[in-house]
Amino acid sequence: MKRYSAFAIAREALRNHTGWDRAWASPEPKKRYDVIIVGAGGHGLATAYYLGKNFGITNVAVLEKGWLGGGNTGRNTTIIRSNYLQDPSAAIYEKSRSLYETLSQDLNYNIMFSPRGVIMLAQTEHEVRGYKRTAHANALQGVKTEYITPKRVKELVPIIALDGPRYPVLGGLWQARGGTARHDAVAWGYARACSAMGMDIIQRCEVTGVTRDGGKVTGVTTTRGDIGCDKLGIVVAGHSGHLADMAGFRLPIESVALQALVSEPIKPCMDVVVMANTVHGYMSQSDKGEMVIGGGADGYNNYTQRGSFHHIEETVRALIETFPMISRLKMLRQWGGIVDMTGDRSPILSKTPVDGVFINCGWGTGGFKAIPGSGWAMAELMAKGTSPLADAFSLGRFREGRFIDESVAAGVAH
């Protein structure tokens, strides 16, 4: 792999940009790998990357039925934060956020991490109490957040209307080192680094079955032939239930559509991420100037990658109350992704009833922020069978009643 650098740009400028390599190779699948990861989204590629980087396991294939990063990795609103209430959540999300800080240097690929700060607005008395509690919990967990006053909110976000008719802004939970990153670049950066370690990233290769021998995984059948493996990692977000069905177990997961939309580009007007969870809307401004808007998920099972129109209406209606100046913005495009929701709104990183099969799913509406930490923990889990970051998120927690309940605490628009 040729390193990207200012020198490389200068060198290529002098020779008409003829020396750039493809960022990653597209090999034919081999007959057998030590580890197969299903799903070349952020989480799958990060898992492969840290398997190689932290544990020296490089005989790895990452299989993708569509194109790299074309699922939820390319469909989210790119928000990165770690201000969760429960200790296991704070640990894995803060690990992830801290990895994002240096990910561009680590991968030698500019992921455009922008720690511009994230505010979660408190718009009811209940939210005020909830976010104060989260700020205290974060202080104990070593996650830097603070509870701020409406005056401070207004200083940070001049375009906000504090005295909204329905839900005035009463305060906010502020994480100064939260922010955004370029979502595609995260997938591309990991893919390039994996490919450089000799891993095979195989796109347009759909897994059609999981072959087992006496309760242990032996490989997968795919649209590009049978491939053997010792360990299989299922990292397919919304389609986790489908893959689990192939491997012969069930999951506490339901797949629903979550939508986002962007406006036409406008001049810079908001340099932080704002989340308004009572009214189900969040917004940030991309580097191109588009207002990036996300809202609540649909309430029913769906695999179509398109959602209900009335949810967009609800989201935009709520945001116009909070940001009156966006009322005349034209919306440029809208899209949907299929998110995998667990009952306690926390992810699952776990061994499964099938020996050698590991699953990483259930990130629901907030998976992008977790990509590096999720990959880090999943790689450790797959290599060593246990991981301090992942163990609390095992499948067994539902049966044993050890929920990591972020369904009310996370304050995310579910």
Binding site: H239, G241, H242, R250, L251, P252, I253, E254, S255, D298, G299, Y300, N301, N302, Y303, T304, S308, F309, H310, G343, F398, R399
Partner: protein, 104 residues
């Protein structure tokens, strides 16, 4: 927009009138059941990529619960039926079979 006909009042209701209620025909297990059965009832879901039998409530209409059979991949609705049954009625399963869709 998803439109379901409420079998209780006969209104073809828009999605905004309805409240989704999750997977239908769950077999309930309580005290005395095995841990596997109880976990399955409480948490594990079919989450099919195909025909989904589900519960809905006509929240901003007659207020009654009912069942629907809907494809999660095409959004095609195969019909709605009474909430007072423990499995889909034959006319619904026949319609699904006629469309060539597996119901598992």
């Amino acid at each position: 927009m998803l439109i379901l006909t409420c079998p209780c009042c006969g209104v073809a209701a828009d999605e905004t009138e309805l409240a989704p209620g999750g997977e239908a025909h769950l077999k309930r297990f309580g005290p005395g059941s095995s841990e596997d059965a109880f976990e399955g009832y409480l948490f594990l879901r079919q989450n099919p990529r195909g025909v989904h039998f589900e519960r809905w409530r006509h929240a901003y209409g007659c207020g009654k619960w009912f069942h629907a059979a809907r494809s999660t991949t095409t959004m095609e609705v195969f019909g709605t039926y009474s909430a007072q049954v423990t499995e889909p009625p034959p006319e619904i399963t026949a319609k699904i079979a006629a469309a060539g869709k597996p119901t598992a």
